[in-house]
Amino acid sequence: MSNEFSIEVHELTKKFGDFTAVNEISFNTKKGEIFGFLGANGAGKSTAMKMLCGLLSPTGGMAKVAGFDIYKEREKVKSRIGYMSQKFSLYQDLTARENIRFYAGIYGMPDKEIKLKTSELLDRLHLHDFADVQIHSLPLGWKQKLAFSVAVFHNPEIVFLDEPTGGVDPVTRREFWEMITQTAQAGTTIFVTTHYMDEAEYCDRISIMVDGRIEALGSPEELKRNFGARSMDEVFIQLARPTADKIG
């Protein structure tokens, strides 16, 4: 295995009793790549993501994240990744500054560096005036941008984003994706799930999971060409539920 890949997954499997949630999936992601991880609800995305974040043991196959084995080196995996989800990411009753310090501290960053980078970050997000208010009072869009910045604050090799833009207004959603693109260009791999199919187009490559398996993998252009579709929405519908048009 070479180390040009930030994530290497080979026949990764997770069974719960008789039920196979993730069924022999294989893929690699490159450094600085934006990798879209799509699939219908219940297709196995969350289970796969939990394994890659070192939160759940696989029942088969292998995977390396940031060069570390997800069976044996789970703590090392955790220290080299960032994670953000729509539902939980920041502590609502801490301020922006406290949230940053808390997460940076967990990842073992030195105090001096935390102070310096906090100031830079608050500048970049135009958040200086609001740095010391509890974040539950901030608009959702600001919170999500701050949550993303906190998730990449310790400069992880990979950041996992689980529906990061759910419910966010269309302007902020686009600003968020510009942040993602810049972060990827600086070399961090972005592993992202979304239900917005226009966002699938912003990814370098996409995988689509159906019933625990990866049924399609490629760039948006390749997938559209292969499926004879004009948009990612059409690709998704063909794959995720071939009978969708017949129901109702």
């Binding site: 219908a40 207004d169 998704f236 519908i237």
Partner: protein, 307 residues
């Protein structure tokens, strides 16, 4: 069926709803479209008698949401944004409970929910808390419909649901409309706008526009262009720096662009992009979608706030 007049609602210093006026006719699918925090849930909670407006009034089926709240609660159907069925009752127990509370039986109005309920019937002895997201959503809709309401309020029924399940859910709503039921539904997904008869675009407690989806699209100010080149990442920045650019937004595989001039000088823009190293440039005039309108209206709202 629903009449909302000058409703205002504040939470402390935050104005959650600012002078809301909406009329919904019988049998309409009316969509309230906007992001989280826009005021959608506040408005639905006022219409379902769970929250009092500060000022203004609203009637549902000719009954006042404040004065006639007891009578109203027996009539409308309501599917809240958060799953609020009894998780430790089974699927069929939940449905029976809702039927008996409203003084009816499952059999009496079964035809209304048959298509939806059939899909979860194989799991009718499973506790509701153990259902998948999609199944919970179908059960919640069944429970909200079992007393055959004339009006149903759905608060973000498709949030967090994948695109295919969302399409299926809207097919169910179309069917309910066929029975003459008035549907008031909120959603953060702009692409669901076209499935409604009429929509209101809501942001920061303001209704920015209210009309049929087609009319809203036809009111889009100026011409819209979809632009693409071989340099995906640089294109956004370069277009923003084009002197006559008015708005530049990422939009899936393309960038949506409007120009300050009435007529875009395509050749000029092409030359400008070539000079900045772009190739395979395509500039195509397109029809806007609701999200384009929402983005433009958000810009106006911001400008108005700064005046």
């Amino acid at each position: 069926m629903i009449s909302i007049k000058s409703i205002n609602k504040s939470y402390g210093a935050v104005m959650a709803l600012n002078n809301i006026n909406i009329e919904v006719s019988k049998g309409e699918i009316f969509g309230l479209i906007g992001p989280d925090g826009a005021g959608k849930t506040t408005l639905i909670r006022i219409l379902t008698t769970l929250l009092l407006p500060d000022t203004g009034s609203a009637q549902v089926m000719n009954k006042d949401v404040v004065n006639d709240f007891r009578a109203l609660r027996r009539e409308f159907g309501y599917m809240p944004g958060r799953f609020s069925l009894y998780e430790d009752l089974t699927v069929s127990e939940n449905l029976e409970l809702f039927a008996s509370i409203f003084g009816t039986t499952i059999e009496e109005n079964y035809y209304l929910i048959e298509d939806i309920y059939k899909q979860i019937e194989p799991f009718k002895d499973r506790r509701a808390g153990k259902l998948s997201g999609g199944m919970k959503q179908k059960l919640a809709l069944s429970c909200a419909m079992i007393h055959k309401p004339e009006v149903i309020f759905l608060d973000e029924p498709t949030t967090g649901v994948d695109p295919v399940s969302r399409k299926e859910f809207w097919q169910m709503l179309k069917k309910l409309k066929g029975y003459g039921i008035t549907i008031f539904v909120s959603t953060p997904y702009m692409d669901e706008a076209s499935l409604c008869d009429r929509i209101a675009l809501i942001q920061d407690g303001h209704i920015m526009s209210i009309d049929t989806p087609n009319k809203i699209v036809s009111q889009f100010d100026g011409k819209l262009y979809a632009i693409i080149s071989d340099k995906k990442h640089g294109l956004l920045k370069d277009l923003r720096e084009f002197p006559s650019a008015r708005s530049v937004f990422l939009f899936g595989s393309h960038i949506h662009y409007t120009d300050k001039n009435e007529e875009l000088r395509k050749a000029e823009l092409t030359d400008y992009l070539k000079l900045r190293g772009h190739d395979k440039i395509e500039i195509l005039e397109i029809l806007p979608v609701i999200e384009d309108c929402f983005l433009a209206l958000m810009g106006n709202l911001k400008d108005a706030a700064h005046v």
